[in-house]
Symmetry: C2
DNA sequence: ATTTCCACTTGACCTAGATCAAAGGAGCCG
DNA sequence: CGGCTCCTTTGATCTAGGTCAAGTGGAAAT
């Protein structure tokens, strides 16, 4: 992976994986159609109606992908962290709703120009293909969590996942997780329930339990600290 | 979608979506590196060790994608039916195990030549990208089933899915589901449990229930007939 | 400061589905 | 044909987690 200087605080696309694979000239073209955009927590970015007008890479914050049934029940089918992408070139997102779980910064690529670039530069498309396969892997990983783990293991898996992803930043190599380090929870209890397929009371109880066992420590409602990472991991695997 | 004559019963790749998007000349090149292969039910096609030597499209039968944990618990994270693909060019499948759920025919594309073709013909890569996004959508759809549905709704969803996919055949446009039509169950009860995140006894009871309500009719252990498709669909949505 | 509101927590139940255990049934072999 | 094995069904419990209801606490409004 090449070293990149963040040449532009307007879009920061040079720091993304999409860009880092590219030769300088093509990176420039990508840069020309990129712009940065901020959304406040809770803002719906795309709601399944019309085609979204752009493709985006998450710079900071967390985006949630939600699938809703008419009766109101919803399942969060994905969380996109810093450096993940959102959108589907040459197609639409289906019935997916995209929402800012926290305040977020996106690096947006206007749809048409981005599709043109993809067509002209196969290497770009290659990178996108690989990332899409990675997403698919992650989705399948999560299917295991939903289908086979106990409530406690689900909660532990979730916390582990958030810790690991929160400390990774666009343009930086993955940061080793520093224990004791505080991190933000991107989801409310209700949302966490929708992500894990659990009732909110269950989430609450499991977190309480992890606290009394000295594995985690909460800092207000939306942040916590992991005191015993190995033990958290053990729980995430259903051993206890 | 263009009309294609199955020019080759040796590989049948001309019938696949991968090929149907291509101009004649490139379709020929694809055809040259394709070969057909048969696997008996239960055969492990790829077990997560070394890189698979090829990419494949399912011609007939059902392939299951399994994620296993060291303690033996496993989750079936995907079923690939006729016309679906299996594999990941330019990368590996991760910890996924691929197994023939029924007797299957695959149209295989040797890895290296296929990757070369992909590099030379961006249109091919485009098609693959779209199919990968489709897979991702399907995986997320399934996450909803796993996370939010009751046992009965899971079983109904599963049956519905199998019916719909079973009647679609490589090279043919989707066949409208004909009620009363018999279809094969690609999975044993145990496997169904691993797919739905349920105990096998629960599967058995739910199927029994659907039978006594006159919604389905079993034909031996590995086949059945849907008598009341609308009501099956209603169950799949948790209404009943 | 005090009220209000809302998200979270905690407690007391209760059901869906897991688990355990005991029959069926179907294919296979002698 | 009978006996064996393996898978499935059915029955009887048990329990994790859902549901319902009553607090609690922190932030914004008054």
């Amino acid at each position: 992976m090449g070293v990149h200087i963040n040449a532009c605080n307007k879009c920061e696309i040079r720091d993304t994986a999409l860009c880092s694979a590219l030769p300088e000239v093509e990176a420039d073209r990508l840069h020309k159609i990129a712009y940065r955009r901020h959304y406040p927590q809770g803002k719906v970015i795309f709601d399944g109606g019309e085609e979204p007008e752009s493709f985006a890479i998450v710079i900071s914050g967390v985006v949630k992908l939600v699938r809703t049934k008419r009766d109101g029940r919803q399942q969060i089918v994905g969380l996109q962290f810093s450096s993940d992408f959102v959108g589907r070139p040459f197609g639409d997102l289906g019935s997916l709703m995209v929402e800012a779980a926290t305040d977020i910064e996106l690096c947006c690529l206007t749809r048409k120009p981005f599709e043109n670039l993809l067509q002209q530069h196969p290497i770009l498309e290659r990178v996108l293909l690989q990332r899409t396969f990675d997403e698919l892997d992650a989705a399948r990983q999560w299917m295991f969590v939903l289908g086979r783990l106990s409530a406690r293991a689900k909660v532990a898996s979730f916390l582990q996942h958030v810790v690991e992803r929160s400390h990774r930043v666009v343009g930086k190599d993955p940061v080793t997780v520093c224990p004791q380090q505080q991190f933000e929870l991107p989801l409310s209890r209700t949302e966490t329930g929708d992500y894990l397929g659990l009732a909110i009371e269950t989430i609450s109880r499991q977190i309480a339990q992890l606290k009394t066992e000295g594995i985690i420590e909460t800092v207000g409602l939306r942040a916590m600290r992991v005191l015993d990472f190995p033990r958290l991991q053990a729980w995430a695997e259903n051993e206890g």
